[in-house]
């Protein structure tokens, strides 16, 4: 096990831009839910999402929004870590579910300019930051924690070429095709994201981006927000959309092993909690199994109740919110959770107001994606 300091953070979501604003608005229980801002609403049964309200003209979508949010988050994190705007030679690992597929859609139907080089984020990162060691991973909803695992592997390498600093990021914005197909599989159109609630109707997407700067050692770091203890990744090899509690539980146990923690050490769980039918039960079953007698120990929350499902960005948004929660001893609530599903009965959800004045040391972060690709990370606070 090797512990790596997190020395820079940046984030943007429907609920706020910048880590401070995002964290405060989540602690206040403020939701980013609104009527669809960039699509023709007459084409859909569902009418709401959790979008970043940054289009130049209301109601008119523009290409390149995913790249824009990513550059914002990476710029925040790089500045926070004192790296400046020249990121040449520094690995930048981007996890995403949908790449720039929204720009492809606008090209296909509405004739906006687009080339195949615009599908991934390398060109945008090169133009803004001169970054040239860039990698776009399209790993569904666990993409940014998968990227985090690979970033930690780079920092564990030895030798002259091994990097001292790695930037890990995640980003996604709504695409019409994914938004539509997701609502299509729900019996009734989802209205809002209510993770783990018996009466939830399903998942809705959100826009978001997050980035962190990881370093090999704490020497000369401007600050340490928290520390990464370990990330485990695996694949259920079970179903293209349905999760497997066994595969998820294996990923959690592997993360605990890698990080050198026991279930009783976990003070906070930042749940994947998408509000998707079946998925919340699978996550709860796996988590209850892994925590065993300690299932009622850690505080738990699902911030997708306010950010919506930010897909590839969601794992890293969870990390940033989790790290800040450990530092401040405050945990944002799960909004809209009234009657937890039976599988989650033992859990101590934070509901209503943010939980405050706690001594919290270790957080577990969950992210699971289509195809049964699971990623679980363990972080500790700055103290």
């Amino acid at each position: 096990m090797t512990i790596r300091p997190i020395i820079g953070m940046g984030a943007v979501a429907a609920t706020g831009s910048g880590v401070d604003e995002l964290f405060e608005s989540l602690c206040e229980g403020r939701s980013g839910r609104a009527e669809l801002r960039g699509f023709d609403r007459s084409r859909f049964r569902a009418q709401h999402a959790y979008e970043v309200d940054n289009r130049p003209v209301a109601g008119e979508d523009v290409p390149g929004r995913a790249t824009g949010l990513l550059l914002d988050a990476v710029g925040q994190a790089a500045a926070d870590a004192g790296l400046g705007e020249d990121l040449s030679g520094i690995p930048v690992l981007v996890g995403t579910g949908l790449r720039e597929l929204r720009s492809l859609e606008l090209w296909w139907r509405d004739g906006s300019p687009f080339a195949d080089s615009g599908l991934h984020f390398g060109p945008g990162l090169r133009e803004r930051f001169n970054a040239d060691v860039t990698h776009t991973f399209s790993n569904a909803c666990s993409a940014s924690l998968y990227a985090l695992a690979l970033g930690s592997d780079l920092l564990n390498q030895e030798g002259d070429d091994a990097p001292d600093t790695v930037i890990v990021a995640g980003v996604d914005v709504l695409t019409e095709s994914m938004y539509g197909l997701l609502e299509r599989v729900h019996p009734q159109p989802p209205d809002r994201v209510r993770p783990f609630d018996r009466n939830r109707t399903g998942v809705l997407m959100g826009d978001g981006a997050a980035a962190i700067v990881l370093r090999r050692t704490e020497q000369d770091a401007p600050q340490v927000h928290g520390r990464l203890r370990g990330v485990a990744v695996n694949c259920d090899a079970y179903h293209v959309t349905a999760p497997s509690p066994e595969g998820i539980a294996e990923a959690m146990r592997a993360a605990h092993r890698l990080a050198g923690v026991k279930p009783s050490d976990v003070d906070l769980v930042m749940l994947h909690g998408t509000g998707t039918l079946l998925n919340d039960e699978a996550e709860a079953t796996a988590l209850a199994d892994v925590l065993g007698d300690c299932a009622s120990g850690p505080l738990m929350t699902a911030v997708k109740s306010m950010t919506g499902h930010t897909s590839g960005a969601s794992g890293l948004i969870n990390l940033i919110v989790g790290v800040r929660a450990l530092k401040e001893g405050r945990v944002p609530p799960t909004v809209g959770l009234e009657e937890p599903v039976e599988e989650a009965a033992p859990f101590r959800f934070v509901t209503g107001e943010a939980a405050g004045s706690r001594q919290l040391n270790v957080a577990q972060l969950n992210a699971f994606g289509f195809g049964g690709i699971n990623a679980v990370a363990i972080v500790e606070g700055p103290r």
């Binding site: 195949d116 390398g122 001169n130 991973f137 399209s138 592997d153 694949c235 959309t241 195809g371 690709i373």
Partner: protein
């Protein structure tokens, strides 16, 4: 985590190619002839389970089965090694563009109610990597690299990185690009290769433990904006008539290197991807088995 070893050398222990005009690494290395017929997935893996799968996923099934068999990891009764010991890293840029465009057309022209729920998994770009894992029971780390022109060589790099980190003893690397109307429009009328290649990368100790035949040894990888240093190593050129290889390009070059080594060539091979017009260039050196 798998057992740690001080030997972090990664080797190639299996390879497969499927392109119009080439279905072996030897044929690829020699250069596929013009006028080859399109790959028919059902002829390779049977019809079962192909319905509702996009072209890239079907091609991925064929390449996965062929590479795992070539490496001695897939028999008539399934995998011959622990499912957790095999990861997947797939590379494709155009993989699911047809599904995205078709679903969007349906939504715009008829509303969301007319879309097919069967398209949902294919709307996620990682469907190639996860579908290969599901069909063949590969439970190690599962990664989809969509990184532009360098994507195939980047996939080789991340597979190597995960093996060196002890996340998996072996990783199937898959590079595939489908050809269809959406892709052709995006490429200004040019065609894509409509096929690809797959390699099994393995830690040398893991390959030795199961007495696998080493077909190539991986050397250093680089990615960056700089001009690659011209070396004496041989390079494989993609024949123009095959079309754009994009995310499959790097993996095809590595498979061609295996073809040369299988044929007795002993000089190193340099795989390169990306040009000054792209966001970066990548390079990977491959050496003949004796270099190990």
């Amino acid at each position: 985590m798998t057992s740690q070893s001080t030997d972090t050398t990664v080797v190639v222990s299996g390879a497969a190619v499927l392109l119009p005009g080439a279905d072996t690494v030897r044929a690829l290395a020699e250069g596929p002839a013009e006028g080859g017929t399109p790959v028919e997935p059902a002829e390779h893996v049977g019809r079962k389970g192909l319905r509702y799968k996009d072209r890239a996923t079907q091609l991925g099934y064929c390449l996965t089965a062929a590479a795992l068999k070539d490496a001695g990891l897939l028999g008539d009764d399934g995998l011959t090694c622990a499912p957790e010991s095999v990861g997947v890293v797939a590379s494709s840029n155009f993989g699911n563009l047809d599904t995205v465009a078709r679903a969007l057309d349906t939504i715009r022209d008829e509303t969301v109610t007319a879309t097919s729920p069967m398209d949902l998994p294919n709307a996620s770009s990682n469907v190639i990597a996860s579908s290969a894992a599901i069909r063949y029971g590969l439970r190690g780390p599962n990664l989809m690299v969509c990184n532009g022109e360098t994507s195939g060589l980047d996939a080789m790099h991340w597979a190597t990185t995960m093996i060196a980190a002890g996340r998996a003893e072996r990783v199937l690397v898959l590079g595939v690009e489908p050809d269809n109307d959406v892709v052709r429009k995006l490429l200004g009328g040019a065609r894509a290769v409509d096929g690809g290649a797959a390699l099994v990368l393995e830690s040398r100790p893991a390959a030795e433990r199961r007495s696998a035949t080493v077909r190539a040894v991986l050397g250093p990888y680089t990615r960056g904006a700089g001009t690659p240093v011209p070396g004496s190593a041989r390079r494989w050129e993609l024949p123009e008539h095959l079309g754009r290889a994009s995310g499959a390009h790097g993996v095809l070059q590595c498979a061609a290197a295996v073809g040369w080594f299988d044929a007795g060539e002993r000089g190193p091979v340099h795989a390169v991807a990306g040009t000054a017009a792209d966001d970066a260039r990548a390079g990977l050196l491959l050496m003949a088995p004796e270099a190990a």
